[in-house]
C-alpha cells in the first residue's frame, strides 16, 4: 500500500467538483482510499481515520485543499495525480468541458472508460457503427436516420440480449443520469422517468415538468418506429423495465403516437409488473378502459401535469390568461385572410397541433396519417396547413431547422405573400444542440413578412411557442420578450399556443 497526502494552499473548489472528482478517482483500479476536501478540522479528522493525515496536512487551514491518496502500488501515483489535476482544471471560457477526439469507437473504448456512444454519421454507416459500439458493451444513442427497419430490429434485438439500450434511430433527445444528450433542455434532477418514441414530444413534456417545478430521473428516447408492429416496442419495453428498477424513478411517463395494437398489448403487460404510477400519453389515443389504474393524457403538457400531480408536486390552478390575451388583441385583417399556417421545427409538436386543430377546422399536414389530411404538395400550402419542416423532405442534405432555420425563413416569406393567410404559427426550440438564438435569427424575416402584408393592406397574426427551460443557455425569458416586443403572441405550452392561434383564427366564426 502506498500513501500520499498533498496540500494546496488557498485553493477553493466547489463541492460538486470535489464530490464528482472523488467518485471518479475512487473508481480507478488500484485506488484504495481517496479524500479530496477543504482542510477543515473535521475533514482532517477523516484523513486521520483513513491513515492519511500528515504533518503538512495537520498545519493546513480550512481555506486549503487537501488530497489524500492510498494506492495499491506506488507506480500508479503519477497517473492518479494527473487525473486529479485534470479534474481540478477550470472548464474553458465557453463553459464546456474539454473534449477528447478518437478516430473510431474501437480506439475510444480501448483508451477510455465509456458506457454510451452517440452515433451521428450518414445513415448507410450508422448501423455498422452502432453494432460496433454494442459489441464493445456501450449503450447507443442513434441520432442518425435513414437506417432500414431490418437494421433497427437487428440492433435492438442484439442490444436486448446484452442488456443494452439502443435509443433511436432518429432519436433526438435523451436525458441519462441528469446528462442531456443531443437536443435536450436544462432539467432539474428529480423522480419522474420517461420513455418516448418522440423527440420534441419528449422535450415538451420535459420542459413543462420543469415549469411546474418537477424533476426528471431519466428520459429515454427510443426512436419513432420502435412501437411499430415490425420492431415490436423492443426498446420501449426495455426502457420501462429500466425505470422500474431505477431507485430514483417514482413515476413513469410513456410518450408516443398510438402504438400498433400488438405492441400496446406487450407494453401494458410490462407495465403490469410495475408498482410505480404510470402516465400514458399516446397522442390521439383514447384512455384504455381495461387499464383504469393508469393516467391518460391526450396532450403533451397534460402528461407533464399528470406526472407532477402523481409525484405529489403542488400545482398552480390552471388559468386562461393567454387565451384572454389572444382574445383581446386586435388585428387589421383583410377579408381574404382566412387560413392558419403552422411552420414547425418539431415533428411531434406538429402532430399535436394537427390533433388539436382538426377539432375546429379542416386541416392538412405532412405528418398526417389520415388520407384526407395528407398534404400532397409540401412546397405549396393551400387552406389550413401545419407543416413539419424538420421532416426528411426538407432536411435531406440540409441541417435541421432547429439548428439552422433558413429553410423555414424562406417558407415564412412565402406564406406571408399568400393573401389568404391569417395566422402564422411558429415554434422555437432552445436548449443543448439548438440554434444559439433562434428568435434573433428569425425576427428580421418576421418583420419583413409583416411589412409585406402591410403593403398589401393586410396584417398577419403571429403566434409562437418557445420550447425550453429557464436554465437553457439561450435565455428563454429574453427569447419570449423579443417576440412579444415584435407583436407576437407567445404561449406557455405547445397546446396552449395552438389554441391561441385557433382562437384568433375563429374569432367571429370558423372559416
Amino acid at each position: 500500500m502506498h500513501q500520499q497526502t498533498i496540500v494546496r494552499k488557498k485553493s477553493y473548489f466547489d463541492s460538486v467538483t470535489l464530490m464528482s472528482l472523488t467518485a471518479k478517482i475512487k473508481g480507478i483500479e488500484g485506488v484504495h482510499e481517496v479524500v479530496i476536501a477543504m482542510a477543515t478540522d473535521m475533514n482532517l479528522d477523516i484523513l486521520a481515520q483513513t491513515g492519511l493525515l500528515t504533518e503538512e496536512a495537520r498545519s493546513a487551514t480550512p481555506n486549503d485543499l487537501v488530497i489524500g491518496l492510498s494506492l495499491d502500488e506506488e507506480k500508479q501515483m503519477e497517473t492518479v495525480l494527473a487525473a486529479i489535476d485534470q479534474g481540478l482544471k477550470p472548464v474553458g471560457a465557453s463553459g464546456e468541458a474539454q473534449q477528447v477526439r478518437y478516430a473510431s469507437i474501437a480506439a475510444a473504448t480501448e483508451q477510455g472508460e465509456y458506457n454510451l456512444a452517440v452515433i451521428s454519421v450518414p445513415g448507410r454507416y450508422a448501423a455498422r457503427e452502432a453494432m460496433q459500439a454494442l459489441r464493445r458493451g456501450l449503450h447507443v444513442m442513434l441520432f442518425s436516420d435513414n437506417i432500414s427497419i431490418e437494421e433497427e430490429i437487428q440492433l435492438k434485438t442484439y442490444a436486448r440480449s446484452k442488456g443494452l439500450l439502443v435509443m433511436g434511430p432518429d432519436c433526438g433527445t435523451a436525458v441519462l443520469n441528469n446528462v442531456g444528450l443531443c437536443f435536450a433542455n436544462h432539467n432539474r434532477p428529480g423522480s419522474i422517468g420517461l420513455v418516448a418514441a418522440s423527440g420534441t414530444g419528449l422535450q415538451e413534456v420535459l420542459v413543462v415538468i420543469d415549469q411546474l417545478g418537477g424533476g426528471v430521473s431519466q428520459a429515454i428516447g427510443v426512436g419513432g418506429r420502435d412501437l411499430s408492429k415490425e420492431v415490436g416496442g423492443i426498446m420501449m419495453i426495455e426502457g420501462i423495465q429500466a425505470l422500474q428498477q431505477d431507485p430514483n424513478t417514482e413515476t413513469i411517463v410513456l410518450i408516443s403516437k398510438p402504438p400498433h395494437p400488438s405492441v400496446k398489448a406487450k407494453i401494458m403487460a410490462t407495465l403490469e409488473q410495475s408498482s410505480k404510477p404510470v402516465v400514458l400519453c399516446f397522442l390521439d389515443a383514447e384512455p384504455d378502459p381495461e387499464h383504469p389504474q393508469y393516467d391518460y393524457a391526450s396532450e403533451l403538457a397534460e402528461a407533464a401535469y399528470l406526472a407532477c400531480a402523481r409525484s405529489g408536486i403542488p400545482l398552480p390552478a390552471p388559468d386562461d390568461q393567454k387565451l384572454q390575451e389572444a382574445a383581446a388583441k386586435t388585428y387589421r385583417f383583410a377579408p381574404s385572410q382566412q387560413y392558419l399556417r403552422g411552420l414547425f421545427c418539431g415533428g411531434t409538436l406538429t402532430s399535436e397541433a394537427l390533433s388539436l386543430a382538426r377539432k375546429v377546422i379542416p386541416i392538412q399536414s405532412n405528418v398526417a396519417k389520415k388520407e384526407h389530411e395528407k398534404l400532397h404538395d409540401v412546397l405549396h400550402s393551400s387552406g389550413h396547413v401545419v407543416l413539419d419542416m424538420g421532416d426528411d423532405y426538407f432536411t435531406n442534405g440540409k441541417p435541421h431547422p432547429m439548428i439552422e432555420p433558413s429553410n423555414r425563413l424562406e417558407r415564412l416569406l412565402q406564406e406571408a405573400a399568400d393573401p389568404t393567410v391569417k395566422v402564422i404559427l411558429l415554434d422555437f426550440e432552445i436548449g443543448y444542440g439548438s440554434h444559439a438564438d433562434p428568435v434573433g435569427v428569425t425576427l428580421p424575416t418576421l418583420q419583413k413578412a409583416q411589412q409585406l402584408a402591410f403593403r398589401e393592406g393586410r396584417e398577419l397574426a403571429f403566434v409562437a411557442y418557445v420550447q425550453g427551460s429557464e436554465g437553457d443557455k439561450q435565455d428563454k425569458a429574453s427569447q419570449i420578450r423579443r417576440l412579444e416586443e415584435a407583436g407576437v403572441l407567445v404561449g406557455r405550452t405547445n397546446a396552449e399556443t395552438v389554441r391561441m392561434a385557433l382562437h384568433i383564427l375563429t374569432k367571429g366564426g370558423a372559416q
Binding site: V35, A37, D41, A93
Partner: protein
C-alpha cells in the same frame, strides 16, 4: 468602465461606514462574482443574477467578471459613493440596503411537512444531510460515501445532544467544517438549525449555549463559512431564507415548492443542507 450597484447588505454597509476609504484586496475572480478581502473578512461583488447574500453588494448589470482586468491581489478602494478597481468604477449611491428581519414563529405552529417531504424525497441532489433525512424517514438511500455517512452520524448526534441538552460541545465541534466546498454541509445544516430555533424559541438557554459553542469553534471552518454564521447567529438571513420559513409555516404549497426550488439552486447543496437543518430544528419540539 462603470457599473451601478443595485443593493448591498448590512455587513457591506458597515464596511462602507467603518473607516475613511478602506482598501480591499481582490481574493478571487469568478464569472458571476468577485471576492475581496478586508482584514480577515471576505466581501462579494456580484452581477445581477446572483441571489442576495451576506457581505454582498449586487450590481444592476450582468457581467462576466473573468473578462475584466481583475486579478487576485489587485487593490480596490471603497468610498461612500463608489468602489474603484483601477479603471473599473462601481457607483454605490443608488444602492439600497436590504436585511430582511427574520420571522418569529409561534411555538407550536405547524409547518407543511408533507410538501417538504415530497420535495426532499424527490430531489435528485446528493448531499450528506439528505442522507440523514432519507435514513430518518426510511427512504431509499442514494449512493453515499464516507463523508455522507460521517455527516449523518454527526447530525444524529447533534440533534440528540440538543434535545438532551448535553454533550453540545463535542457534537457542535463534530459538525463544523464537515463536508466539501466553500460552506461545508455540516455548517449549512447548523445555520439552518440555529436560524429556525431562533425563529421558534429565541430565548431558550440551550440555543444560546449552542450559539456560544459555534462561535468558539469558528477557527474550525473557512472564511466564507464564518461570515455565513455571523449573519445567521444574529438571526438575520436573506430574503430567500426568510421566505422559506414563511412559506413552510404558511398555507400555500405552490409557493413553498417554488421557494424550495430556489433553495435547491443555492450553492451545490448549501440550500438543501440548510433546509434539513430547519427540519431538524422543528423536530426537536415534535419529539418532546
Amino acid at each position: 468602465m462603470r457599473f451601478t450597484a443595485e443593493r448591498y447588505d448590512e455587513q457591506f454597509q458597515r464596511l462602507l461606514l467603518s473607516e475613511r476609504s478602506p482598501t480591499l484586496t481582490v481574493h478571487s475572480v469568478y464569472r458571476r462574482l468577485v471576492n475581496f478581502l478586508h482584514g480577515h473578512q471576505l466581501y462579494t461583488l456580484s452581477g445581477a443574477t446572483v441571489p442576495a447574500s451576506f457581505f454582498h453588494c449586487r450590481l444592476q448589470e450582468t457581467i462576466d467578471f473573468t473578462q475584466l482586468e481583475l486579478r487576485p491581489g489587485d487593490i480596490a478602494v471603497l468610498r461612500t459613493d463608489s468602489l474603484t478597481m483601477g479603471s473599473i468604477v462601481v457607483d454605490l449611491q443608488p444602492a439600497t440596503l436590504y436585511n430582511p428581519p427574520s420571522p418569529r414563529l409561534a411555538r407550536g405552529a405547524k409547518p407543511d411537512q408533507a410538501t417538504l417531504l415530497t420535495f426532499l424525497r424527490q430531489s435528485g441532489k446528493r448531499t450528506g444531510s439528505l442522507h440523514y433525512y432519507r435514513s430518518l424517514h426510511q427512504l431509499s438511500l442514494a449512493p453515499f460515501d464516507v463523508m455522507d455517512e460521517r455527516l449523518r452520524f454527526a447530525i444524529t448526534n447533534f440533534v440528540q445532544a440538543f434535545r438532551l441538552n448535553e454533550g453540545m460541545e463535542e457534537s457542535v465541534q463534530a459538525l463544523m467544517g464537515l463536508g466539501r466546498g466553500l460552506t461545508p454541509a455540516g455548517d449549512d445544516f447548523l445555520a439552518g438549525f440555529l436560524y429556525t430555533r431562533q425563529a421558534l424559541a429565541p430565548k431558550e438557554k440551550r440555543l444560546q449555549r449552542t450559539i456560544q459553542k459555534v462561535e468558539a469553534h469558528y477557527p474550525q471552518t473557512g472564511d466564507v463559512t464564518r461570515q455565513m454564521y455571523q449573519v445567521f447567529l444574529q438571526h438575520a438571513g436573506t430574503e430567500l431564507h426568510r421566505h422559506f420559513l414563511e412559506t413552510w409555516f404558511g398555507n400555500d404549497p405552490v409557493a413553498l415548492w417554488k421557494t424550495l426550488l430556489e433553495l435547491e439552486n443555492l450553492g451545490h447543496t448549501s440550500g438543501l443542507d440548510f433546509v434539513v437543518g430547519c427540519v431538524a430544528a422543528v423536530s426537536i419540539d415534535e419529539k418532546e
